[in-house]
């Protein structure tokens, strides 16, 4: 069954058409990448799915239910986790505290007036941290971590809501190249293992062509191509307007590296 379906999404900012009839579908366990040059409407599309922006037209369907225009917190409760382009975490909390907070929210306990918040859901939080390889850093303040590690914790926070869909806006932005590959491999592993659908935007073509099952190419708010990495890579239109020479090479390199 289709996990996520975007149907004819439209968004205008003043005179600018940031998204024009954007439609796509995503199945459980599938990784779908949205790529495109700066200003193509990737983040706009993304935020319409995540509830941060209300579309001017079209629908967002989650497992057959219409979630168009619902606020992020509602979308979250329906099984959607998300990470941000610039990692958003609770800076005054420890690493494990961040995940515990997400678990408290997931269990609907945020209005409890008694009890020690930082004694709750510790084991579960530790399991999640372990899955992203951050268990050893659990007790450190999150502000002390390297940015790549913060991104991993953010992934654990998103997973705390036991999501069926993960939205990741440029998951590897601002990370060192070696960290990027590791993070994307981690995400791909979790997605396949737990049948979580992943929608992500990305500028790093290595990451996209290595891990995406399908790719949407967005240019000036319009989808100009879609398909498997192979199909997109060979699309002359995509090569002309977006990938260019260097991008095509990266795509080939990624194919060699990951078979």
């Amino acid at each position: 069954m289709t996990l996520l379906a975007a149907e004819g999404l439209v968004k205008r900012f003043g005179g600018v058409l940031a998204a024009k009839d954007v439609s796509f579908a995503l199945d459980a366990g599938e990784m779908l990448a949205i790529i495109g040059p700066n200003g193509a409407g990737k983040s706009t599309t993304f935020n319409m799915v995540g509830g941060q922006l209300r579309p001017d037209g079209g629908r967002v369907m989650l497992e057959g239910r219409d979630v168009t225009g619902m606020p992020p917190r509602t979308v979250c409760r329906m099984g959607v986790g998300r990470t941000f382009q610039v990692a958003q975490t609770f800076l005054s909390f420890t690493v494990i505290g961040n995940v515990q907070m997400a678990l408290i929210a997931h269990h609907g306990q945020t209005r409890k007036l008694l009890g020690d918040a930082m004694a709750m859901h510790r084991a579960e939080a530790l399991t999640l941290l372990d899955r992203v390889g951050m268990a050893a850093q659990a007790e450190r303040p999150i502000g002390e971590l390297a940015y790549g590690d913060v991104k991993r914790v953010e992934l654990a926070i998103a997973l705390a809501a036991a999501p069926r869909l993960l939205l990741m806006d440029e998951p590897t932005a601002g990370m060192a190249p070696s960290e990027r590959a590791a993070l994307m491999a981690l995400v791909a592993g979790i997605a396949r293992e737990q049948r979580i659908g992943v929608l992500f935007t990305e500028h790093d073509m290595d990451a996209v062509f290595a891990h995406a099952d399908r790719i949407l190419v967005l240019v000036r708010g319009e989808i100009i191509a879609r398909g498997t990495p192979e199909e997109v890579r060979n699309d002359p239109e995509v090569q002309r307007v977006y990938l260019g020479h260097a991008g095509t090479k990266a795509a080939q390199r990624a194919r060699r590296a990951h078979g």
Binding site: G81, L91, I104, A160
Partner: protein, 613 residues
């Protein structure tokens, strides 16, 4: 209503709108560039009036000509502009990077200092200014007499708007002001001399306030209360217009001027309330004002200013707290005076703690927390004196009154953030103050209500101290638990990153609202206890100065720590109680102390202890 009457009313509305714009434009320009909400802007306005009543009569001695009158007005504005430069160089320059709350408090410190200095320089008696030569007559409009000077004032606002437009679009300085208003960091990155730009902006802003004040002298005599009365109105205008937007301020001043001119016919006593209601409505519909723009969010993640780690007290802290409680309980061994101070310290500790529950734990900077304290006091006091109930049910009603008011005001407040939120809390506190002050039949107005005495069993000072201790400490311990509990952690999480909180399924607005109500209820309980300790209530219990006292307490104690505000309340109140009878210049001392605190140790007493450890 007759047409001529409506016309005259509209004209006088335009005249006050025009004056209001001149003042508010300076405030909004300074905010746009420096991102500091300058409380002292009202002080500049007052200084402008005092400078003018000094300079203008002296000039008119030479020749009673309009030229010299206006030369005196302009000279006053320039003098005040120079004072703005002094303030920028001595104070603002040091606090551009500190959190908003500290900036607000520091500029409020300047307000206190200027109030005392004005009294020192010009004395407590109002000083009437000369009327403007050539504009002393009346003009007849549809058979109604209208003062020529008012007519002249109507044209001043648009003239200032035009001059500011020329300045902003035709000079390099003006272009830089506009650029800095849009993106301060970028202007700095382009290599612009920021120090000069900021100093120049303060000169312009202060001079506009001074001009506004100087132009008032034919209408109102210079007095020592001009600063706070005008600053609230100027805040309302800049917030409605959108902070940083000069045309927005013009539009808002027009709205407010006309609203007050006609509102006075319908609700003669609550024109200020009308203005605040307009502001509340505008902010709910357009959270950044009519022509304002959302702040450019800086991409950097910074550690929030507030409670970071709500761990329970360590052993030293526990010993300290135990000794403090024992000392309070032993106060009756000393004298009556100590018992009185001890009772008040306990009450203010609860009030300050509840404020830091919002500020430190929730990142909700309330500038009007005294409203809930005061309404709790009035709720309890009026139940006893008007409804004839006894103390026990009245003390139960106090937190309900505070919490209900917080529920009503908080519903709007939590829709905003940062400086707009602070302004709205202050506006609501002023509304509550105005209602209590002016509804004489019910609240006793300025005189308040006397005869709020405890039940017989609690009538002695000692017993009342113990009662206060039991209730305050219980409430504080409960709030401490809440801070550590999931609800408190959720408020901290939303403070750290509202976007992240939202994305993990937290309804940030509702949680903030509930937190606001809880803090309001605790402040209400403190207010109720205060009413019975004094035996009387009066409007100062809801006033801005008391709100600032509460903020000073938590600042002194340190908003990063859970228990710091308690130490802050004790230290602040004890010092105030000792010093105030000894000096005529309490405000001067308090102002200097606030500024010193902001500059020297923004982490408060608790921070000092941590640094020593």
């Amino acid at each position: 209503m007759e047409l001529d009457f409506v016309l005259i009313q509209a004209l006088s509305g335009l005249a006050s709108a025009s004056s209001l714009f001149v003042i508010a434009s300076g405030l909004t320009i300074v905010f746009g560039v420096t991102r500091i909400v300058n409380f002292a802007h009202g002080s500049f306005y007052m200084l402008g009036a005092y400078a003018a009543v000094t300079i203008v009569p002296w000039l008119l001695e030479f020749d009673r000509s309009p030229t010299l009158f206006f030369a005196g007005v302009i000279a006053s504005a320039l003098v005040v502009g120079m004072l703005g430069v002094v303030m920028e160089v001595l104070l603002l320059r040091r606090i551009y990077k500190v959190p908003e709350l500290f900036q607000l408090l520091a500029t409020f410190g300047v307000v206190l200092i200027v109030q005392d200095l004005v009294l020192l320089a010009w004395g407590p008696v109002d000083i009437a200014g000369p009327r403007a030569p050539g504009l002393r007559h009346g003009v007849y409009i549809l058979d109604q007499r209208f003062p020529a000077y008012e007519l002249f004032l109507i044209f001043v606002g648009p003239a200032v708007l035009a001059l500011l437009w020329l300045l902003m679009h035709r000079t390099r300085f003006g272009v830089l002001i506009r650029a800095a208003t849009q993106d301060r960091e970028m202007v700095g990155a382009l290599g612009v001399n920021q120090a000069m730009l900021f100093t120049g902006t303060l000169f312009l802003g202060a001079a506009l306030a001074g001009l506004g004040g100087a132009l008032q002298i034919p209408r109102v005599s210079a007095n020592a209360h001009m600063d706070l009365s005008v600053i609230t109105e100027a805040f309302v205008v800049t917030v409605i217009g959108g902070m940083g937007s000069v045309p927005g301020a013009f539009l808002a001043a027009l709205l407010i001027g006309l609203l007050q001119a006609f509102g006075v016919l319908v609700f003669p006593k609550i024109t200020l309330v009308l203005a605040f209601l307009l502001m509340a409505v505008v902010l709910v519909v357009k959270p950044w004002g009519l022509l304002g723009k959302p702040d450019v969010a800086s991409g950097r993640a910074v550690l929030p200013e507030g409670i970071l780690d709500p761990r329970p007290l360590d052993r030293f802290g526990k010993v300290l707290a135990g000794v403090a409680v024992l000392a309070l309980l032993a106060l009756p061994l000393l004298d009556d005076y100590s018992v009185k101070v001890g009772t008040e310290v306990l009450i203010f500790a609860l009030a300050a703690f509840s404020l830091n529950f919002l500020v430190g734990n929730g990142g909700i900077v309330s500038f009007g927390h005294a409203a809930y304290f005061g309404l709790g006091a009035y709720g309890a006091g009026m139940l006893v004196t008007k409804a004839g109930l006894s103390m026990e049910p009245a003390l139960l009603a106090a937190p309900i009154a505070g919490g209900a008011a917080a529920a009503l005001f908080g519903f709007f407040v939590v829709r905003l953030s940062g400086i707009y939120l602070a302004m709205l809390t202050m506006a609501f506190a002023q509304i509550a103050y105005a209602v209590v002050f002016q509804w004489v039949e019910v609240t006793g107005g300025d005189n308040g209500i006397v005869g709020v005495w405890p039940s017989r069993w609690a009538a002695s000072r000692e017993v009342y101290l113990y009662l206060t201790a039991a209730l305050s400490i219980a409430a504080i311990l409960f709030l401490t638990r809440v801070i550590r509990a999931p609800f408190g952690a959720t408020l901290r999480a939303a403070r750290d990153s509202a976007a992240r909180a939202d994305a993990i399924g937290i309804d940030v607005r509702t949680h903030r609202w509930l937190g606001f109500i809880l803090a309001g209820a605790a402040a209400g309980l403190a207010g109720g206890l205060y009413a019975f300790s004094k035996g009387s209530i009066d409007p100062t219990l809801l006033s801005i100065p008391l709100s600032v006292d509460f903020l000073s307490m938590i600042l002194l104690g340190g908003i990063q720590s859970v228990f710091g505000p308690l130490a802050g309340a004790a230290a602040f109140h004890a010092v105030k109680d000792q010093l105030m009878p000894l000096t005529d210049h309490w405000r001067l001392l308090l102002g200097l102390a606030i500024i010193a605190m902001v500059l020297a140790f923004p982490r408060g007493l608790a921070g000092l202890r941590r640094r020593a450890a």
